[in-house]
Symmetry: C2
Amino acid sequence: FDTSPQAIRLYLLYNHWALKVLLYVFILVNLGLAIFEEPAVFPLPTWATMLLELLCVFVFTFRIVHYAKVIPRDKFWKDPKNICIIVILLLTLVDMIIYGALRAANCSIIRWSRVLRPLLLVNVTEGRQLRRAFRSIRNALPQIFNVFLLFMFSLLMFSLMALKLLGKRNLKTIEGLPYFNNYLEIVFDLYVLVTTANSPDVMMPAYNSHSMFTLFFIVYILINTYIFMSVFLAVVYNNYKKYLKEEVRQLVRAKRHKMARAFAVLQEQKEDGGQPMVTQANWNQLVRQVRPDISNGHRELLWHVCDDKNHGFIGKGAFVQLADLLNIEVITLKSRPHPLQSLFPKIYQSAPSRLLCRMVQHRAFVIAFDLIILVNAVFIGLDEENPLISNSEWVFLTLYVLEILLKLYVFEPKAFFSRYSFWNWFDTLIVVTALIATIINSALKSLVRYTSRQILDIVFILRVLRLLRVVDGFKRFRAIINTLIRIGPAILTFGQLIIVVFYIFAMVGMELFKHKVKFYEDSNDPAKAYCGNPLLNNTAFAQLNYCKNNFNNVVSSFILLVELTVVNQWHVLSSGFATVTHVSARIFFVIFHILVVIIIVNIFVAFVLEAFFVEYSMDKNDLQTSLEKKIKELE
Amino acid sequence: FDTSPQAIRLYLLYNHWALKVLLYVFILVNLGLAIFEEPAVFPLPTWATMLLELLCVFVFTFRIVHYAKVIPRDKFWKDPKNICIIVILLLTLVDMIIYGALRAANCSIIRWSRVLRPLLLVNVTEGRQLRRAFRSIRNALPQIFNVFLLFMFSLLMFSLMALKLLGKRNLKTIEGLPYFNNYLEIVFDLYVLVTTANSPDVMMPAYNSHSMFTLFFIVYILINTYIFMSVFLAVVYNNYKKYLKEEVRQLVRAKRHKMARAFAVLQEQKEDGGQPMVTQANWNQLVRQVRPDISNGHRELLWHVCDDKNHGFIGKGAFVQLADLLNIEVITLKSRPHPLQSLFPKIYQSAPSRLLCRMVQHRAFVIAFDLIILVNAVFIGLDEENPLISNSEWVFLTLYVLEILLKLYVFEPKAFFSRYSFWNWFDTLIVVTALIATIINSALKSLVRYTSRQILDIVFILRVLRLLRVVDGFKRFRAIINTLIRIGPAILTFGQLIIVVFYIFAMVGMELFKHKVKFYEDSNDPAKAYCGNPLLNNTAFAQLNYCKNNFNNVVSSFILLVELTVVNQWHVLSSGFATVTHVSARIFFVIFHILVVIIIVNIFVAFVLEAFFVEYSMDKNDLQTSLEKKIKELE
């Protein structure tokens, strides 16, 4: 690692937040190009999107070159993620050239490099969490594969049995087609049954012919839907936990190693030839540089935790803890005086003012406002065309604003809006936004005599969200809600994972199925009944009016993929697309189901489970307790 | 506890296996009465079923009186399960009298006491496992209830939002009905959406009007289907595990207490005033009485584990372990000589016989038969009308029988059919049954020129099951399959739980909905199109041909309840029954969903998960390892 001033400046520049934000903006732009490219939501000319993409590629190239300058050369080339980025950028360029050339020659061509775009999100240096998630999945694959093979074996066996039992009985499905007499069709139908999407319809012809046949289906569902799907969850959960643990262990080891090296730099030998140690002065200087935002009192506290025998120096063991200590958040709850008290001490300390404070802090105040919220809920449910109801909204808004103002009068504003008061933030945000939106809405209404539907929708949503606050009043819900709020940040990583996978499937799906199924806004168009594709005439897909579930642009592709993730009716959707192309199109949907529903959704479930198990068996770690002990001692 | 010889004889009689079996037979008869009672699968006259039920009640009364004689009086009356049984028996008698009287007066009346029948299964002394499962559920209820309240709050809030956002837009569902303009309907629709059963249909009208509305549904599904349902699983899993652990801990404590009392009875004081102890002679006598089936060698081994310093006596600590020691199964794998060897030593030891043994034990033998199975699978898939194919069955059967005979020639039969060789048992059973069934089938065919469909079905199933054996060949599957086999016994407890709950719902459902929906075998009957109830005309229920999903007898009720457990289309089924009775009938189906799908199915999933987690982190307990150490030492 080069330690010349120039190299360090370059390193600091590389890690500057503005450059990181810029990188993410360009990744978003790059991904967002799908909205404007053919098949587009908002079509732009090809040269415009190509130019934008070229700019993105240029920015990414610049960033990777910068990274190469910062990192030692051999380390750079050993890291697969850098090679991955370079290959992606090169492939993108090649694809753009081919596409541009063929486009100029008026040939139609597939933009295959779009599939690679989300991989950039995974491979940039900042995507650590996301890479970790992908690595966990990759590591879990062999075990998942074993279970999957066994599951497939069971599926094939049951299909064979179904063919033998039901194939020769001349049964008919509800559409009048022959029932269970083609092996591959049976395999597909029984695979769908595992997802429960065609239960009980797939069973009905057999059931109508004899009740005993239901036994076959019940055993099948028990083994494949309940047992095998639970085994998948168990395997995914177990592996995800195991590899995550392993990763965390490696991280901890790396951190300890680095801290030991820092200690070696800072250590001094004591005169009597004892252990090497770090003095308080050095330590203070270090902490001040690493975390300039920490207050003196807080730093003092941390030092006392490390040096709990008051030697004035600490050994290696205590020093290594520093990084963890800095990560523990100590909420400095100074009982600061209210700013009004310092401004108008007389008035703020007067008897009516104190009475007001006592009133607001009283339990009855909270209950009164919970009741107001409930009354509000009933009013929202009623018809807002009634002038009494619509005017009552102003009363409620006034009450809510009054509540916030009163609380601000009583509680110190900085404490009220501290980072940890989720509900205060939530409440104020909702009420203020609702106030502004309502004012705009009624201003528009009285001035232009026109009610904007969009603003009204926002007002409605805000009104209902306001009611959420009532939940905070119940202690029994608080543990659950706090766990859910704590899951929040990790869901972001998960959201990225989902977006990467969905984006790839959306790109492939758009190339395969674009414009095969059309949606007609005009309900009188006769083509609406078969989604503009005569092949769909009389299929379940058209009859259920699923025309808008198509791959004609990136937004509807994403919505369709969400519907496929929810699973229900996925066989109707997949059969629809198989009808307009080829029966092998089902493979696309089955692969999506295996990847997203069996693996990724299970990871999500495992993740929520884990968060709750941790919550239930919450043990604070050693450092946190020793910090708390110190705080108690010092009090 | 009375220790007179007479009381002990009574106690032993109470615990006699024949009486226990008799009790279970009568419980089964009592439950099975539902098949013959109105509405019946096979109708019997009322006096016959009443007489049978009276007999059952008499047997149960006798059993509980016997139990009261065995157990001290105060203990008997303190135990809620005894009081429960007495109350159930009295209520049953009262109901029978009322029913009999009103029946004689030709009034129609509800047999409400049938709901209580499965509770007998829970409350008999032998239903310990089942009672434990119910207790775990009851203990988990408060926490589940908290999450459920929060979930309901979220559901009501989202419904309010949906009403405000979509209610006034004059959208129409695919049936042309107004969309989302009735609050209670919205609540039901969104509850169904949580189960994913009406996705994406419930979303389509909003989606067709504007793509942005899908955001509402996506957020809803994310929060309610994915997060809340996972939280339910987490809560159920966590509580079930916690209370099960607590129960096990109490059991262990009780066992230790009882063993300590047994030690107090058997102890002798050593001459030099040391610790009290039990001599080997006393110990031997005890073990021989408790477990007469244990061999001398095995007993000797156990003694050496307890008395590992060869004192000739053991202290309290070692004595208390006895119960656990007796529970560990030691497989006595004596390398017994093959019986043929003792009968015909010359022939069995001859060169060709030895070559045969080596061949059968060779890896190639297994692979050869795996290949034969695969070829067999292909032949099964082909059309069995072809004489070549149908005759090939005889070849395969001969090959399989030959395989088993060869194995029996090589391996010692008792070892081959030991309790732990699951696959040997499975294999032999399947092949022998298939042989018999095939012979009967072809005998019938050649003699009477008539092929029984039932026997042919059995033959088909057996043929396919034979293929299962191939799985055992792969090492990677063995861990998974062994875990699944180990789950087996516990699934029995779970099956009882399911039967109890389903039986209660079936009884209630039959009283509420019997004969409202009819199934017509004759496809030409015009009433078939609306299930014999004009109210169902043009409903999804009738259009999907769900007429056989009804509560007209106990078998179809159970099948319907299974379909409801699988969830898909449950809203169509519930709406069908709501149409023929009253909209409040939906409550029955929602309660079933909450109880069975949210609680019981989650317990099942938790249960499979736990089995796999235990498998993955398998640690043998101390006793088992000390036993293994001893076996190693003695070798």
